[in-house]
Subunit: 118 residues, 2 copies
């Protein structure tokens, strides 16, 4: 199944579920970039609240999608990163530098509003 991407005003909202497999992750990457292109979204919030474990492949996809979205002109904020996920990301050496993060979806959207002013 594809991961739903919601459009809210100028932003795209995505909630990642724990059970995301590799195929879904790659499809998600493609879908998100296409959606940024078609909607002209200026910001993206990817919510990881439901994710309790992350492997190196998913971490790589996430890190890539942030960089690619950035290239396309859409700012990404990751929200709801759980302690276990933060530990794994750090252990894997995926530092997600230059990536904005926030505690939850509301704060992620607020961050985008403040940064992008729209």
């Amino acid at each position: 199944m594809r991961i739903p991407i919601l459009k809210l005003h100028n932003y795209l909202l995505i909630s990642i579920q724990e059970e995301m497999d590799d195929k879904t992750a790659v499809q998600f990457q493609e879908d998100l970039l296409n959606k940024i292109h078609t909607t002209g979204a200026s910001g993206v919030v990817i919510d990881l609240t439901s994710v309790e474990m992350i492997d190196s492949f998913i971490a790589k996809v996430l890190s890539d999608v942030v960089a690619m979205s950035d290239l396309m002109g859409a700012r990404v904020v990751l929200t709801g990163i759980q302690p276990s996920v933060a530990i794994t990301l750090n252990d894997l050496g995926v530092h997600l530098q230059h990536v904005q993060t926030a505690l939850d979806l509301e704060r992620g959207l607020k961050k985008l509003h403040q940064e992008l002013g729209d």
Copy 2:
């Protein structure tokens, strides 16, 4: 895979994808009711923009989930119903009476704001 349910302030946002099978639909029903219970959400927006076809089972689940959420005290707005889906729902005799609808997610949220005032 489970359908992600996003929490935004007092509301829950869900985007249904076309490929939803019967098992996913039943799981979604259970997940949504649990989420309403745990978050105390006062409103729910179910976005159907990506749904181009609907069968009688999914229509029944949707209609049920609206009634059940209402019983639990959460108002549901369906958004983005496409012409083909509207035709099918009407043909199936699923009138979704007393269900609020709106053109897109933004307007659905606005409708909830206006009705619930929060």
